[in-house]
């Protein structure tokens, strides 16, 4: 699980161009949106595509994303449970 969390942090920094943020600066329970990393709706779309492409998880209800993308911890748990690749 810790490998998956590390992988997610790396992917988020690379794919969302968070050039000024280091992996160590993202705590597992930090909120990804709002006051935490400050991600926005376009980032949410990028994350939905990433789940589909890299883990084979298709989110059909966009409202699900709000809950799944709460933090690295929540994301990693959801991916571990639902991944098809």
């Amino acid at each position: 699980m810790s490998d998956l969390k590390q992988e997610l942090k790396e992917k988020i920094i690379t794919q969302l161009n968070l050039e000024d943020i280091a992996i160590e600066e993202i705590a597992d329970n930090d909120p990804l949106f709002g006051d935490g990393l400050g991600l926005d709706s376009i980032d949410a779309l990028e994350l939905i595509v990433m789940l589909d492409k890299d883990y084979g998880i298709k989110l059909t209800d966009p409202k699900e994303g709000k809950k799944i993308f709460e933090s690295i911890e929540v994301m990693a748990n959801y991916i571990a449970e639902h991944r098809t690749k």
Partner: protein, 354 residues
């Protein structure tokens, strides 16, 4: 009809031009067939949160426009008009590559949003909260001149007071690879000091962003007056001099009134002969200037020539690295720019000291 002035400038190029206090005092020489811009520290101009989704072309355009607006002491503007040949080509390449690699699946929004040609003008408007006229011209190597002509006419007719005009193009790896394949880029890497004497076909490609505040209100700090622009999609070499004569006559000028000719030579032996029609013809005894050995060739490289013309008129100085001949005349009043690319999309632009 109102007169139109260049009130400020902002340039990101392959030279250190982002500081308006410098004027090509230190030339960077390249040994290559594709040259990049010297980038300023973008974080000094753009908040990191805003910059993270911006492609290089957007960052260059936003910074060049900020430099120009700051020099003109303006926080808002009546209109934003840009010219670009290829737009945000890097993100276009990224998006199209993703379509092919992923079999039309998993397409992400960021590169698609940024792949359009008018992203730069849009981002500038968002950054300063400008809700005015916002337009982007995509007309190959007369893209910048088309934007300039639009602004010129609006200012002449008093439809606006201050307009931000710019030319911006970024270099894209895949696009450059294609241009190498068809030999529009020189096959050999060449020293920029030797480029204009090259005996081979093709050009050295570059990139850049050059922005200007044009206004019908002259200021103490105005660089020059813009007298007119004329563009041609096709123009035979044999008709060049006659068409230029007509253009100058419309402005009550003759060849002899031109003090400096700024020509867009790029070292392509197959097409630089268009410039020779002027440099060996009516302007053989006139001061001649060239700039593409410093900037590289790109669709809006002529905006760098425009920047050069404005600087020459304000400083009354021609830096030696841009001088094509040893002729030196004091009291520079009228500057003519001529540009074309591969025998198409020609432009004449006329500037006057103010």
């Amino acid at each position: 009809m109102e007169k139109v002035y260049i009130n400020s400038i902002g340039s990101i190029s392959a030279q250190k031009t982002f500081d308006n206090n410098d004027f090509l005092e230190e030339i960077v020489t390249y040994q290559d067939n594709i040259i990049p811009v010297i980038e300023p520290n973008y974080k000094d101009f753009i908040p990191p949160a805003a910059a993270r989704r911006m492609a290089k072309g957007i960052k260059m355009g936003v910074v060049a426009s900020k430099i120009a607006l700051e020099e003109a002491n303006l926080t808002d503007i009546d209109a934003i008009i840009t010219g670009t040949g290829m737009g945000c080509v890097r993100d276009s390449e990224k998006f199209v590559t993703a379509i092919l690699d992923n079999n039309e699946q998993f397409l992400t929004p960021t590169s698609f949003i940024q792949s359009t040609h008018n992203t730069v003008a849009g981002q500038i408007a968002l950054g300063i909260g400008c809700k005015g006229y916002n337009f982007t011209y995509v007309h190959s190597s007369v893209s910048f001149e088309s934007a300039l002509l639009d602004a010129f006419m609006q200012l002449e007719l008093k439809e606006a007071e201050n307009i931000l005009v710019g030319g911006v193009d970024e270099s894209g790896d895949h696009t450059n690879a294609i241009h190498k394949l068809i030999q529009h880029i020189k096959p050999e890497k060449i020293n920029s000091k030797e480029l204009l004497h090259s005996k081979t076909g093709g050009a050295v490609f570059g990139e850049g962003a050059n922005f200007f505040v044009l206004s019908n209100k002259k200021q103490d700090y105005s660089y020059a007056q813009l007298l007119g622009i004329k563009t041609y999609n096709t123009l035979a070499k044999s008709d060049l001099v006659a068409n230029l004569e007509v253009f100058l006559k419309e402005k009550n000028l003759t060849f002899g009134d031109i003090d400096v000719l700024i020509s867009g030579n790029n070292g392509d032996i197959d097409y630089d002969n268009y410039y020779s029609e002027l440099t060996n013809g009516p302007f053989k005894d006139t001061q001649q200037v060239a700039y593409k050995h410093l900037s590289g060739e790109f669709n809006t490289a002529s905006a760098f020539g425009f920047w050069l013309g404005a600087k020459i008129l304000r400083t009354q100085h021609i830096p030696s690295p841009v001088a094509l001949n040893p002729i030196k005349i004091k009291g520079l009043e009228n500057v003519l720019l001529y540009n074309q690319y591969r025998g198409k999309n020609h432009s004449f632009t006329l500037l006057r000291r103010c």
